[in-house]
């Protein structure tokens, strides 16, 4: 299983700080699709992804037990 963390407004859209989902053997892009199917109001288009606190691309593979975080870039200042 994999823990998926949501930051900022993504957390509000999902309604949870994290979810647990089985994404091992899938790519980041696959996981995004899985999340979108479950939570239709989430926008993951521009988010940054970290796997175990390391930057990940859409085609990076997720392994069993890895923790994923979705972090939306914000622009206020």
């Amino acid at each position: 299983m994999n823990k998926v963390l949501f930051f900022a407004h993504l957390r509000d859209a999902v309604g949870e700080e994290f979810i647990t989902i089985d994404a091992s053997g899938r790519t980041v892009a696959d996981l995004k699709q899985m999340v979108l199917e479950k939570y239709t109001s989430v926008n993951l288009e521009n988010v940054m992804t970290a796997i175990n606190e390391e930057f990940a691309s859409d085609d990076d593979m997720i392994h069993e037990g890895s923790e994923i975080a979705f972090i939306p870039p914000v622009s206020g200042g």
Binding site: N46, E53, I71, S75, G77
Partner: protein, 339 residues
């Protein structure tokens, strides 16, 4: 001078040698809002040699909750932020040469302002300017520090040309509809936390303690008690158009910038984003209504009243700002609401 900076020079990573380095450096601060105010105050107190502070807006009442350099009098006088900031900073530390530049930080302007600068601090409120800062930083090999916040959420990244990935490596393109303080609100502690990250990084760079520079992308939520530090070294992209082998600095090209045009005789400015967007008008309408804006709309457009102006936004991202002929003011209103 010795007494003034004694507590800072007692801190061993700075020391007397570090203080002399700080004194010899020139910082370019892009933006004089919340992040700009706080970073500018810390670095002015730290005794930097020269600080250039750039901003296109004037002080408004809604700034006072978090923009620490400004007063009610600045609001009454509608002082430009750069000028109000410089006035206050000169009172804080007369050792520092402070320069106020009241202008829109366009790519052209950035290339002019970066001459002789040692470090750029991002205190802007939009990604278009940040991507231009990112390109100009790569072109002239000057480090910059990204910082941003909304609500209780904030983030920062230090970019050292030739060493770390750049913002374009990480984001790949300008994010659309990034949340801004005008749409998502903001609490002052979030601002201060981003300022702390940015100004600590700034001090490391000023004293040239390169080993100490943070190489991860930090983000945190002070209300939800989340903190994460994402390693980004593998994001460095040899094909990146901003820092890669065949770089073109795309964000210094005016073709990629938001276009604003005054519509003749209509007291209206049209703003067109560089790429066609797909804005969820319903979501935006709800957000703006929650914040107390008067919003009317139909499936094709939203009309929002902002003080004396009215902004009409279409779902492809194009907007008309009625009630002004001032391109900079119109672009500022647009980016405040749409990031």
């Amino acid at each position: 001078m010795d007494e003034r900076y004694s507590r800072q020079t007692l801190f061993s990573p700075i020391g007397k040698a570090g203080q002399e380095k700080i004194r010899s450096k020139h910082i370019l601060m892009i933006g004089a809002g919340a992040l700009g105010s706080g970073n500018a105050e810390i670095l002015t107190r730290a005794g930097v040699g020269r600080l250039t502070i750039v901003d296109r807006d004037y002080v408004e009442a809604s700034n006072l909750q978090r923009q620490q350099l400004y007063t009610e009098q600045d609001v009454e006088e509608k002082l430009p932020k750069a000028a109000a900031a410089a006035k206050r900073l000169r009172k804080i530390n007369s050792d520092v040469e402070i320069e106020a530049v009241i202008t829109d930080a366009t790519p052209e302007k950035l290339e002019e302002l970066i001459q002789g600068v040692d470090l750029i601090i991002d205190a802007t409120d939009n990604f278009e300017t940040r991507m231009a800062i990112n390109d100009v930083s790569q072109k002239y090999q000057i480090p910059w520090i990204y910082g941003a916040c909304v609500g209780s959420f904030g983030m920062s990244l230090t970019i050292l040309p030739g060493k770390t990935p750049c913002l374009n490596c990480i984001l790949k393109k300008i994010p659309i509809q990034g949340m801004t303080c005008d749409t998502g609100g903001i609490i002052a502690p979030t601002v201060q936390m981003v300022i702390s990250h940015q100004s600590a990084e700034a001090l490391k760079i000023l004293v040239e303690d390169w080993e100490a520079v943070r190489t991860s992308f930090v983000s945190f939520d002070l209300w939800r008690n989340q903190y994460t530090s994402m390693k980004v070294s593998k994001a460095k992209d040899a094909g990146c158009l901003s820092c890669g082998e065949n770089r073109t600095y795309p964000y210094l090209d005016s073709e990629n910038m938001t276009k604003s045009t005054v519509l003749c005789g209509r007291d209206t400015v049209q703003i067109r984003p560089p790429r066609q967007q797909n804005i969820q008008l319903n979501d935006l309408s709800l957000q703006l209504k929650e914040l107390g804006y008067k919003v009317k709309g139909n499936p094709y457009l939203l009309s929002v009243e902002i003080d004396e102006q009215r902004l009409v936004i279409f779902n492809d991202g194009r907007a008309l700002i009625h009630g002004t002929n001032d391109l900079t003011q119109a672009k500022s209103i647009y980016q405040r609401l749409l990031g």
